[in-house]
Symmetry: C2
Subunit: 428 residues, 2 copies
């Protein structure tokens, strides 16, 4: 238990490739969200290499936590040592789980046949299969999603350790079995509900929230909650987590924050912006089209991220060149000539063009200077023109200068466009 | 020094929002890459919350390393404690750096005026400015990119600690000053060059590389190198890092691996696939267009990610609905009727349509079942049809079933399309 009054959990991610910057760890943040939502205080997130001493030291370091979740190091090769090291940490012997071995062998053989792997590889595969089927005595083995079983092991007098595979699809796929394992259920029974409130705002500078919190401190017990703020592109997320027993303080504080910033509020219940936009478009029965220059398809791709988007995404055009703006979006060449490709006028013509061509109810045009070159004094890098138009005559234009590098500018521009669409679809 | 024979470095990232899964840490992987490339062995990557005891414990834990880099916790508010805790760790007092205070105050005041912040906030801003200008005695203060200075502090008899701000843009922007700071230069003088080889393959299963390494172990001293393999969507990255003095072993091993898998080789010098594609398109003088259904603009957006892409990206169409495929890409309605929207025939017509409409030299059409719904026995979720066509008659078609969930399928499909383009542009 710590400042939050919640049992502490630790995440230990293994993989040398995560320490050379070859790849970013996706499991840590995902697990952190799950554990927080379950009511744990996530105290540590460690990434360690595939070196036995480092993993063992990390396990000892976090051994004061109630729960430790590891990811990675369950592969068939000799350098994947997590199961063995966790067994040693828990003081348990490893034994071969014969049904598990047979089950894995069947899948590996099928894979090898499909991939026409040569006979000489089969012996190596068999060694790997036996290794993956070794389970610490007393552990709960979780059914593999790939070929590696997960494990739930308790160190006597110490933490419960949940051992999961590294591939995010396997790790996430195994999570329901984790929650269903008897020792995990038993642990969870003693964890107070999280009851966190997650508020999301747009166009609200972080110091304004800090000021609001200072003022609300007079009427609310800020020591009974943990408030974290996080700026993500155009959005500010404010999470209010109660100490156990202080749920009413968190609720009241969240409501007070919302009441002070209604105009900038996007969501008061943690629903994602993209989900809200999807609902709003479906409610309106609107089809949406996109006309993108500097974002280059990022807005369309974000709209299509969501399953079921075929019910409201008509399509989009990436008109990166002037010629494409003219030929594919019917932007008059004279308009580009007169105002430049990056101009509110062209953004509007792009939106109108996409709306007409895709038969959509609403469209957004985006044209800007993403950099690093191409900026001028009048239209610097980061200057982006947006225009949203609808079939019933609504026209909303913006032309901010967005901060950051090329990637920041494009992502933030996509965010701005999503919020323009959300506001229009909500009719607010 | 450890298994790699290299001085060890640790990265300590702070931020409670990184432990609730609200946001993913971008600084850890970026710093890991920089430190690895400088020749360090990155031994630990820790994410800790904004709690003094946790950060202090993490610093003590990694105090055996030669270098520790922290990110975050340098903000103006009272819960940002990194500078103070690092000073305590190094046994140094904090003193006000008056020129730094004046410099920050100027920027904060300008920001406040621009944002029309009320007078009542100014006092709070002043407190924050004074806090950000506190510097440990004996430390090198690095000029702020935002409003927080970075710090380089040595713990007597312990590691050199580099303290950097949390926003990735500020952290990355400050990196040149880090490398230029005298104590860092001094440390780097004793670090052996990394000389790692980074190989990238496509269509090569991981066990095949494992098998290759086993075989090459007969002629190469595998104990003199560290080999990490990492599967990223369709690509397999193999990094070969030498122990100091074993550079020739790493070079020879890398060449031997390449010689065994020339057909699947994408890059032997670490150049990114996207960079190779850009160069190949520029070499060919090709303009590229995209016609996307299930990827929904992700391919176009990836092509536009690179600065200078306006020299070879003509544009693209996101034709998510059948109507859009017909009206915006000239796919014959009968073709959709006869073969279905997800079919090799439609993929080819989409490519031809985009190429003609955008006046491009090469185009890729992508249509598939991204799921989670819409799969059939003949065309399951993950079934994606690709077709690349060029003006001089080249036609390359693929229709694999890609693994994973909706996001995996779309990302992997984008990867497949990029590799189709790369192979065609290279003429290989």
């Amino acid at each position: 238990m710590d400042v939050t009054g919640r049992p502490r959990a630790a995440i230990v991610v293994t993989g040398s490739e995560l320490l050379t910057g070859t790849i970013s760890d996706a499991n840590g943040p995902w697990l952190a969200r799950q554990l927080s939502d379950l009511g744990f205080e996530v105290a540590h997130l460690f990434v360690v290499g595939d070196r036995p001493a480092d993993l063992t030291a990390a396990l000892e370091y976090v051994s004061g936590c109630a729960l430790v979740v590891t990811s990675g190091g369950l592969g068939p090769t000799a350098d994947d040592l997590t199961a063995e090291l966790v067994a040693r940490f828990a003081g348990a012997e490893m034994v071969l789980d014969e049904p598990m071995r047979a089950w894995i062998a069947e899948r590996v053989t099928a894979w090898a046949r499909r991939n026409k792997v040569g006979e000489e590889v089969f012996a190596a595969l068999d060694v790997g299969t036996r290794k993956q089927a070794m389970v610490p005595v007393g552990a709960v083995a979780l059914p593999p999603v790939g070929t590696a079983p997960g494990l739930v092991v308790r160190r006597p007098g110490g933490p419960l350790v949940v051992v999961l595979p590294g591939p995010p699809r396997e790790l996430q796929g195994m999570w329901p079995s984790v929650l269903d394992a008897a020792p995990v259920k038993e642990l969870l029974a003693g964890v107070p509900a999280a009851a966190a409130r997650s508020l999301r705002f747009v166009g609200l500078p972080e110091p304004r929230i800090a000021e609001t919190l200072r003022e609300l401190g007079a009427d609310h017990d800020l020591n009974a909650v943990e408030v974290t703020t996080c700026l993500r592109r155009a959005e500010l997320e404010v999470d209010v987590r109660p100490r156990p027993g202080a749920e009413h303080v968190a609720q009241a504080l969240a409501e007070a924050i919302v009441a002070r910033h209604t105009r900038e509020l996007v969501s008061a219940d943690g629903t994602s912006t993209d989900e809200l936009l999807a609902r709003a478009l479906l409610d309106r029965g609107w089809w949406v089209a996109t006309a993108e220059s500097c974002t280059g398809g990022m807005l369309a791709s974000r709209l299509v991220d969501r399953a079921g988007s075929s019910a409201y995404v008509a399509g989009g055009t990436v008109a990166y060149s002037n010629a494409a703006k003219v030929s594919q979006l019917d932007v008059p060449a004279e308009l580009i000539e007169a105002h430049g490709a990056v101009s509110p006028e062209v953004a509007r013509a792009m939106a109108d063009g996409a709306r007409a061509r895709f038969g959509a109810d609403v469209a957004v045009g985006i044209t800007g200077v993403a950099g690093p070159d191409g900026g001028t004094e009048a239209k610097p890098v980061g200057y982006v023109c947006f225009c949203l138009t609808t079939g019933d005559g609504l026209v909303v234009a913006r032309d901010p200068v967005l901060p950051g590098g090329r990637a920041d500018i494009r992502e933030r521009a996509t965010d701005v466009a999503v919020h323009l669409l959300l506001r229009a679809a909500r009719g607010s």
